[in-house]
């Protein structure tokens, strides 16, 4: 099982050992210094760590892991702490291991088109460093100014362009990993594959449960020659949603295809005035890229598809400035939604694209039922929903209502043939939802995979994979009289 019983607090001997191993500035134990580490971007779950280590060398990381391993003390790795599922939340009696000091780009190889990075390098920095060579790093999470490449690998982060260019897992070629036992594993490198099992895939998205990622080799892509951005307004949410499938079925794979509903559009307009149509029930933002000769043709076809889908108006960005303006509306959507209510809860399920309309309608009905507004702004081309449930934590019961509503949305995603998380990970947030997606046999297999890399169960314990016991309890609550949730929905 993942949950070993850790000591209630860190043994004093271990703290003394860490003090001997690390320079003074690399060990935090004072309450004020620890506070920034008490949560990630899922800020309603907090725990102040007892100790934060900020090592600067690989050998220091190895020594920390070995010392903790010997004493059976858990370790939680942390990048920038922008995770949205509590993955970097400290655990009781555990050490928080920050990779923030590992910010070097070790090598940028424009000929082989790869970059070798320390785990604390920020996502955007990679593309900036590659830009002089006409290259870039494709995965571009909205948090790319802040989040680290190590955290991206641990979460298999996506972005607005992953419809065409893939997630982190499609863009990582090599990893160096330190296991809890202190062994260094080198997987892949600059070649397109490595010998043995595909551990690159296994480690990508493993949420810090299998090993500490200490080096990442990513592939870089040539910047597209040309880019077109279209913004289409729709009279109904359902029409916008249905047009998403129509575009892909039409043989077009856009670089990005985002949907915003009316509430999201209006909030964004109030905030940045990007010129979005405030009266539209929904808009689709669609980016095409490729060589100029090809693009003109494709754009014309896209416009036809948008019109056939019922678009009432289409704006086309003709200059880089206009492109930026159209994207600014989308990029501001999250902070803008933050102005609509004191708090919001961002969900992250994925569903088959052809069910977008029906699932969004159901979320709308529940929104009225729960008395909580929902703004939708999401990666429609991937079917990756991000309903933002607006609430006010200061009002008694509202947070609980928002959480209950969110859990129901995730179950709906599973019932529609989708998943409880498209890119934000399970962390501590979606442990119960995991029980609705996986059966006992799969969960047991996940635990055995964990044990293969971390036999003591010390790396990020209690995250990502629920115990069978927890799911048994969850199941007892959810399956009444053998009936699954949403019997009315066809199951895949």
């Amino acid at each position: 099982m993942l949950e070993t019983v850790p000591p209630a607090s860190i043994p004093a001997e271990l703290i003394a050992e860490l003090r001997a191993l690390l320079p003074p500035a690399a060990l935090l134990t004072e309450p004020e210094a620890l506070r920034p580490y008490e949560c990630d971007a899922l800020s309603n779950k907090r725990r102040t760590p007892e100790v934060v280590c900020l090592p600067e060398t690989l050998e220091q990381i190895r020594a920390i892991l070995r010392a903790c391993h010997l004493r059976g003390v858990p370790v939680v790795a942390r990048g920038a702490g922008t995770g949205l599922s509590g993955g970097a939340l400290p655990v009781a009696g555990g050490v928080l291991l920050s990779l923030a000091r590992f910010t070097r780009i070790q090598e940028l190889d424009p000929v082989n088109r790869t970059a070798r990075l320390e785990p604390g390098v920020r996502n955007l920095v990679v593309s900036q460093a590659a830009a002089p060579h006409g290259l870039y790093y494709a995965p571009d999470p909205s948090s790319q100014i802040a989040c680290t490449i190590g955290g991206n690998v641990a979460e298999n982060a996506g972005g607005v362009h992953c419809l065409k260019y893939g997630l982190t897992v499609h863009n990582v070629l090599g990893l160096k990993i330190l296991t809890m036992e202190g062994d260094l594993l080198e997987i892949g490198g600059q070649a397109l594959d490595g010998p043995g099992y595909d551990l690159l895939a296994l480690f990508t998205g493993s949420e810090g449960l299998l090993g500490v990622i200490v080096e990442i080799t990513v592939r870089l892509l040539p910047r597209p020659e040309d880019v077109t951005v279209l913004l289409a307004a729709f009279p109904t949410l359902a029409a916008a949603a249905a047009t998403v499938s129509r575009i892909l079925a039409g043989g077009i794979v856009p670089a990005g295809l985002e949907l915003m509903d009316q509430l999201a559009v209006q909030a964004s307009e109030d905030y940045v005035q990007a010129g979005y149509p405030r009266d539209a029930a929904a808009v689709l933002l669609c980016e095409l890229d490729g060589c100029s000769a090809e693009l003109e043709d494709e754009t014309a076809r896209l416009e036809d598809l948008l019109r056939a889908g019922g678009a009432s108006s289409i704006q086309r960005a003709r200059s880089p400035e206009e492109r930026q303006r159209l994207w600014a509306g989308r990029k501001a959507a999250f902070p803008a939604a933050g102005r609509l209510a004191p708090d919001y809860y961002c969900m992250d399920g994925t569903i088959p694209r052809h069910r977008l309309a029906e699932v969004l309608e159901q979320i709308g009905r529940w929104s009225r039922e729960y008395g909580l507004r929902v703004a939708n702004v999401f990666h429609a081309g991937d079917g990756n929903l991000h309903p933002l449930i607006l609430y006010d934590a200061a009002r008694p019961g509202e947070l609980e209502r928002a959480e209950a509503f969110g859990a129901r949305i995730l179950e709906l995603c599973v019932a529609a043939g989708g998943t409880i998380t498209g890119e934000h990970g399970v962390g501590v947030e979606k442990l119960d939802a995991m029980c609705s997606q996986f059966g006992q046999a799969e969960l047991a297999q996940f635990h055995r995979i964990k044990e293969a890399f971390d036999p003591g169960g010390l790396l990020n314990p209690g995250k990502a994979v629920p115990t069978l016991h927890r799911c048994a309890e969850w199941g007892a609550m959810h399956v009444h009289g053998g009936r699954l949730p949403f019997p009315e929905l066809e199951r895949f």
């Binding site: 190889d109 424009p110 000929v111 082989n112 290259l135 979460e155 419809l163 997630l167 499609h170 296991t179 062994d183 260094l184 080198e186 997987i187 490198g189 070649a191 397109l192 594959d193 490595g194 010998p195 043995g196 099992y197 595909d198 551990l199 895939a201 296994l202 493993s206 299998l210 040539p222 597209p224 079925a249 794979v253 490729g290 060589c291 090809e294 494709e298 994925t350 569903i351 088959p352 694209r353 079917g383 989708g418 998943t419 998380t421 498209g422 990970g425 399970v426 995991m434 997606q437 059966g439 046999a441 799969e442 297999q445 996940f446 055995r448 995979i449 044990e451 293969a452 994979v465 895949f492």
Partner: protein, 355 residues
Amino acid sequence: MTADLSRSLAERIRAAAREHKALRIEGSGSKRFYGRTPCGEPLEVSGHRGIVRYQPQELILTVRSGTPLAEVEAALAEHGQMLPFEPPYFGPGATIGGTVACGLSGPRRPYSGALRDFILGVSCINGRGEILRFGGEVVKNVAGFDAARLMAGALGTLGVLLEVTFKVLPRPACDLTLAFEMDAAKAIETLNRWAARPLPISAGSHHGGRLYLRLSGSEAGLAKARRELGGEALGPAADYWRSLREQTLDFFQDERPLWRLSLPPATPPLGLGHDADWYLDWGGAQRWFKSDLPAKRIQKRAADAGGHASCFRGGDRDAHVFHPLPAALLARHRRLKQAFDPAGILNPGRLYPEM
């Protein structure tokens, strides 16, 4: 023709696990030559077949493992779609299960992605005889460890595949193959220079003093690239790339062991033998080498260049055929194998002798 044999296959595996009897998983046998010598009683999976779900508008396909690859590609072609990793068949009966278990990708690989990149989910039977489902039928999914992609290239040692869900893509409107006269060093340099630019490249190879380049896209896009790059247009282009992928070119008709080297693409020619013994694919990232040299020598050279080497065909199939793993990594491979197949009954020794 469709049939669901999941239950009986799981029953066979449970029985074998109880008796600690090794099973040799068999599709059509088209890739029997690949990996180490199979051992154990045959477990036939080719009867478990049929396309379970294909939604062209979703660009997603779920198929049973025994389904012939040819049947799948024909179904996709009807809707103008394709498996973008251009998998080799190595025999008319090649099944989806064998294709995924071997994890091989064709010439399009560096430009579109590998087989594992297009796997969205699998269902499989582990060595305990449990039917497990990982991943799903959506393109973005980070719930649970990615055990689905882990099956790609595992040669059946972690589980018997039952179903695989792929992301598929629209077929490009046109293809054009160009040939250029130059030596290997120049070809490697050229292919990598082109790959760093936004050109519609979908394959690049070199042999016998000629660089071959395939462009895929719209007519207008290809015409423009062609004007820029020059070169001589090759006749029915599909035939060349198919012969390279299927290893039916004259180069591959040879008694000597055939080595596959996977390298950083811009690695200069490695020497070791004559130029004529090398065939470059994947824009330089995959190189075929015919040689009687000792494995250690070839593998050392590949590792020094930042890659690895496996004996793809011929040679001693009872020895190591894949690049040996460092001790710490091998230890994790063995533990992972035990995590899925504690009795060690699924294709034992097919990948590495130690597991």
